[in-house]
């Protein structure tokens, strides 16, 4: 099946306008006849559910947390980009578009990224009107700061809690619709399967996490906004509950999965402290605006107190290697640079897996008060976790898995290869290419939910003309039965090992063999190990409790089971991509100076994988990335 990206014709700057005119509409009185099932209530899910309900559609929204306000978008700290050019520093829609394409190492779809930059300005207006308390200047106007991968100040922020405030804005819009009765909310409800009827996505199977009951819901379309798969690595900055289950089960029902090997490792996280570690904590990239990253020049100095190491014995390696971007070099580059200096034995802190992020110069220049105002909550957070005062000693940071650019393949309308199934936000693959720039995830989640899907979904209803089936039809009963069988199988294994122990083992293999740097031998080893771990999982797992009632062990086991399968696709994708680009770094493919070596001749495509059945190799489909407007250059931040 050839992949049709449905990119509109015409000049880049006019594609979205033209497309919006070409899209078929549903008349207001008819909208209420259509029911949309939205899974996930983060920025993308909540904004989509609220907006669809405002337009008049019937909406059901599902999340596994106890409230839609808990979705992991809430943890985003730094900010959201928009091409407002309020600072008069040369920003424009085109520049945001170009920075994003370049930041993504020329592996994103041009038309999608341009649209993202276009609607970015509407997002800020929308959020301000909702009462998002963005940072302001004394004159009352919105404040901006700069972020990695950009030379203009276009990032809007609400202290170090921008994700929280934007999510609360979307959550409040959603709450308003719930109050009005246009959205029915299902918290503590986890999607466990997609139901496809006559080739169209028409429903989902869910487990009520309180009663344990498995049931299904039918709709005219299904929207997945279920986030990324970073937790396949076990340790990541994602919340404990983040998982790949919804998009993975959709993959098994025919929705192609694209570019899973594009995983982002964030350079500024708090280093691992021990085996018990349950998650990693990110320190916002915004810290790199004022903090300077360094390690000692000599290995022998690494155990000394940082304050006792003189200036000329320090290696400010980002400033040295990338003079024009310095400490604000993009995430993939900064992460790899940290790994390199630690691999050379110049890392600091316990385990020598850390580098310093030093604020002493900024405190001297701006005064401590200014630093408290800008980053106070982050310094507090650091102290809670490490017991160290970063105003006095430099922070120690190390890269950690943070975001996943890959995801379900979608066309320009955000529809997957299963008609009627739409995927938004981090869960899809479309806008960030091989690497995402800071402050762009919030932008994409809200763009998809507020300003893209509400237009494109109507076109699907108007053209597909598929009746909504009953949730008691055979397809639904079958899917429910399959889910119950899986649940019972997990409960009946009665082995010796816990879901967590398997998850940790799987994560270690991935982090070592498919993490910041990958190579053919390592990936092949991982592809051998993963099926072995999976086999043991399905023979030696123990899940306590029953299918009825609250059973967190069972919920977790189901998610780990999907990670076990997904991990293989991730490694397979990484192995097939014989080039280095963005977050995917293959050690065999690098320039003499260690920079990523892209291969535009052979790999300028999105790799979309099609499921073929259990224990069968997936089939690769290629969507060629054609750049009409930008020239594919070598990414340089020097």
């Amino acid at each position: 099946m050839p992949l049709d990206s449905k990119i509109p014709s015409g000049p880049l700057a006019q594609k979205w306008d033209k497309h919006r005119f070409d899209l078929k509409l549903i008349n207001p009185a008819n909208k209420r006849k259509y029911e949309v099932l939205v899974v996930g209530s983060g920025l993308a899910g909540a904004s989509a559910a609220a907006t669809l309900a405002e337009l008049g559609y019937q909406v059901k929204c599902f999340c596994f947390q106890d409230s839609p306000r808990r979705a992991h978008s809430i943890a985003a700290q730094g900010g959201i980009n928009a091409a407002k050019n309020y600072q008069n520093d040369g920003d424009s829609v085109y520049r945001l578009f170009y920075d994003t394409i370049k930041g993504g190492d020329f592996r994103a779809r041009e038309a999608n990224v341009y649209r993202l930059a276009q609607v970015s300005v509407n997002i800020i207006d929308q959020c301000v009107a909702q009462g998002v308390p963005f940072a302001r200047e004394y004159g009352g106007l919105l404040s901006n700061r700069s972020f990695g991968g950009a030379q203009v100040s276009r990032t809007f922020y609400a202290r170090g809690q921008t994700g929280q405030q934007l999510l609360l804005g979307a959550y409040q819009a959603l709450a308003r619709q719930i109050g009005l009765g246009t959205v029915k909310m299902f918290p503590r409800t986890e999607m466990l399967d997609l139901v496809v009827v006559n080739g169209h996505a028409k429903g989902i199977v869910v487990r009520d996490l309180v009663s344990g009951q498995v049931s299904s819901y039918a709709g005219d379309a299904v929207v997945l906004a279920t986030g990324g798969y970073g937790n396949v690595f076990f340790l990541s900055t994602n919340a404990k509950g983040c998982n790949v289950t919804a998009t993975w089960r959709a993959y098994k029902k025919g929705a192609f999965f694209a570019n899973p090997c594009y995983t982002q490792i964030h350079p500024t996280c708090i280093p691992v402290s021990g085996e018990h570690q349950s998650k990693l904590t990110l320190m916002s990239e915004s810290l790199r605006n004022d903090g300077r990253v360094w390690v000692p020049k000599r290995k022998e100095d690494c155990d000394k107190a940082p304050g006792s190491i003189p200036e000329d014995a320090r290696d400010y390696y980002l400033e040295r290697k990338y003079p024009s971007f310095g400490n604000l070099a993009p995430r993939d580059i900064s992460s790899r640079a940290a790994k390199e200096v630690c691999d050379e034995g110049r890392g600091v802190g316990p385990g020598k897996l850390g580098v310093y992020l030093d604020f002493s110069d900024a405190i001297k220049r701006l005064g401590k008060d200014k630093i408290v105002e800008r980053y106070g909550n982050l310094f507090d957070m650091y102290e809670k976790i490490t017991g160290e005062n970063a105003y006095e000693v430099p922070m120690r940071i190390y890269p950690a898995v943070h975001y996943t650019m890959g995801g379900t393949w979608v066309d320009y309308n955000l529809m997957t290869t299963v008609p009627g199934l739409f995927v938004l936000g981090e869960a899809n693959f479309s806008d960030h290419g091989a690497n995402r720039l800071g402050a762009s995830a919030l932008m994409q989640g809200l763009a998809d939910g507020y300003f893209v899907l509400p237009y494109t979904i109507g076109n699907y209803f108007a053209t597909a003309k598929q009746a909504k089936p009953s949730a008691t039809s055979a397809e639904f009963k079958q899917a429910e039965e399959a889910t119950r069988t899986l649940t019972n199988r997990l409960l009946s294994l009665k082995g010796k090992r816990t879901p967590l122990s398997f998850h940790r083992e799987l994560g270690k293999v991935l982090w070592e063999k498919c993490g910041m740097a990958r190579n053919e031998a390592g990936l092949k080893e991982a592809l051998k190990r993963i099926p072995q771990i999976r086999e043991e999982f399905w023979t030696n797992l123990t899940v306590t409790g029953q299918a009825e009632g609250i059973n967190q062990s069972l919920e977790y086991a189901g998610r780990v089971a999907d990670f076990m399968e997904f991990a293989e696709l991730l490694c397979l994708d990484a192995l097939h991509r014989n080039e280095s680009c963005g977050g995917h770094f293959r050690t065999e493919f690098q320039e003499a100076d260690g920079e990523a070596k892209r291969d535009d001749q052979n790999f300028a495509y999105a790799a979309a994988w099609e499921y073929q059945g259990p224990d069968k190799a997936p089939v690769l489909h290629k969507e060629s990335l054609v750049y009409e407007d930008v020239h594919m250059s070598t990414r340089s931040y020097k």
């Binding site: 992991h72 308390p133 940072a135 302001r136 409040q172 123990t542 009632g549």
Partner: protein
């Protein structure tokens, strides 16, 4: 260090609960409180016993999903700290730690340490929003907002909706939560049009959910992981009073 835990066990809303005692061995000071519980739970599962059910998600103090009354204090009693950010370096070897769920009539128990905080969502649904639809909004800089107002609004908006304020209150009042949300929006120009309606509707829903009355003892502020200021309750009382006086 080795610790003794007294943990609340309850099968579901309709079954009686009780404390059970268990040991937490070889606890490291770098562990978070929830990581310590993870380790205890792993041992329980390995022995074929059911783990203690507790809520958590982000584990960095922002999602508001974690709870736990630790030694009688919600979130364990360290200033501006949620349970997930509490680290074991604050405990001593040999200590006995009591762990309970939030206790409030409006937060019915679900299992062990988990409770249902749906009442908070319903309060927001009653009026904790600005009624704007997507699209058609003015430029973000069209209405200047003074830095003071934006900062004060942000102070209130920092609330994570965890419910510690209710758990700490002898009356299980939700005033600090409601005050934070009302103030967040009522302090901004964008929230003015619905200012009166918002205060009235949210207080009405709060009462309907069964939260108790506020006597301004300040225990809520003391345990709030986001250090939401008690003065917002004064602002809520003022906004509510003005709305009543206007005859709304």
């Amino acid at each position: 260090m080795n610790l003794t835990l007294k943990v609340w066990r309850q099968k579901d809303r309709n079954s009686p609960g009780r404390f059970v005692t268990c040991e937490a061995k070889n606890v490291l000071e770098d562990m978070s409180f929830l990581e310590m519980l993870d380790v205890v739970n792993e041992e329980l599962i390995e022995r074929g016993e059911e783990p203690f059910a507790f809520d958590s998600d982000c584990r960095e103090g922002i999602c508001g999903m974690c709870s736990l009354v630790i030694n009688g204090v919600p979130h364990g009693g360290h200033r501006g700290t949620a349970t997930c950010q509490l680290h074991m370096r604050h405990f001593k070897d040999g200590e006995t730690i009591t762990i309970e769920p939030w206790r409030a009539r409006a937060f019915p128990p679900l299992r062990d340490l988990m409770v249902d905080r749906g009442a908070f969502d319903r309060i927001i649904q009653a009026g904790g929003f600005v009624s704007v639809n997507t699209g058609g909004t003015p430029d973000g800089n069209a209405i200047p907002v003074s830095k003071e107002a934006a900062d004060a609004s942000m102070d209130a908006a920092a609330c994570i909706g965890c419910g510690a304020c209710v758990a700490a209150c002898k009356n299980a009042s939700a005033m600090l939560f409601v005050a934070a949300k009302v103030s967040h929006l009522n302090l901004l120009p964008q929230g003015q049009a619905e200012k009166d309606r918002r205060a009235l509707a949210m207080v009405k829903q709060m009462d309907a959910e069964g939260f108790g009355a506020c006597t301004v003892t300040g225990s809520c502020e003391a345990v709030c992981p986001k250090e939401i200021n008690l003065s917002f309750i004064a602002k809520l009382n003022r906004d509510y009073g003005v709305a009543i006086l206007k005859g709304k």
